[in-house]
């Protein structure tokens, strides 16, 4: 099951953009003008809400929100 709706809800707390502009292909740093600090906060929120851990070494590979969705789906409840 996709986690994108939950990811989108959290992202919208950081980015002042319409919800319709957020897709799997969205790069939060490039497309939403978020900073790496915002990204760390978003990941921390998702870890807390979904009970998943995203190690520092994995963050570099999570370029788009689709990448983040795929990672969380594969590791939630693990």
């Amino acid at each position: 099951m996709t986690m994108l709706p939950i990811i989108t809800t959290v992202v919208l707390e950081y980015a002042d953009v319409p919800e319709s502009s957020i897709t799997r292909d969205t790069d939060p740093l490039r497309d939403l003008n978020l900073t790496s600090y915002d990204l760390m906060g978003i990941i921390g929120r998702l870890e807390s809400e979904l009970g998943v851990s995203v190690p520092e070494r994995e963050i570099r590979h999570l370029v788009t929100l689709g990448d983040l969705d795929d990672y969380i789906k594969a590791h939630v409840g693990a």
Binding site: N33, S36, Y37, L39, M40, G44, E47, S48, E56
Partner: protein, 191 residues
């Protein structure tokens, strides 16, 4: 080393930030290297760090937030970061700061501002390295002292904080590579 900074009169949009950053970069390149502010092209390395086309001797870094823009231009690798001071996120602190750093932040007079001093200093370091999020922030230890420059556990690396604007922290980092670096005071320009 040339530092150019500008404070936004209000909360600047993303496009306003980018436009101001481009203008400040032109000013910095002109001051530091005599490069015409209308005749330069920027490309990015594999990690997204911008560099000047055809001028490998020119190093620069750009940072912007809703309140300010900062540009650092030098003849050696440099990094700059700027953040608006807001409520600190404890999950970010747990991920990126060690126990000593967290303890110093919690004990500070203004813990939120102290948090963003540490954050921007670490970010300025990874920007100087040119690898962005590819370098975990918990791999560098920073000591912010009320007196003197911030220090780290990395050799030939120097830092400076610029805190001329309310609610904004700007951090500068330059990689010495054994060279003597001439610091210059920030140039403050109109937004």
């Amino acid at each position: 080393m040339t530092v150019v900074v500008a404070r936004s009169p209000g909360e600047a949009s993303a496009s306003e930030q980018r436009e101001a950053a481009r203008r400040l970069l032109g000013l910095g390149l002109q001051r530091a290297f005599g490069i015409s502010p209308t005749e330069f092209e920027v490309e990015r390395n594999a990690f997204g760090k911008p560099r000047l086309c055809g001028r490998p001797d020119v190093h620069f870094s750009i940072a912007h937030c809703g309140r300010a823009v900062a540009v650092l231009v030098a003849g050696q690798p440099v990094g700059v970061d700027v953040e608006t001071v807001r409520c600190r996120d404890s999950s970010v602190a747990a991920r990126c700061f060690d126990a000593s750093e967290r303890s110093r932040i919690d004990a500070a007079v203004d813990p939120d501002r102290e948090f963003f001093r540490y954050w921007t200093l670490k970010e300025s370091y990874v920007k100087a390295l040119g690898c962005g999020l590819y370098y975990p922030l918990n791999r560098i230890h920073i000591d912010v002292s009320p007196e003197g420059e911030p220090e780290s556990d990395k050799p030939r690396t120097r830092f400076r904080l610029v805190e001329a604007f309310p609610a904004v922290v700007i951090a500068l980092c330059w990689l010495g590579r054994g060279e003597r670096t001439t610091q210059s005071d920030p140039v403050y320009v109109e937004w």
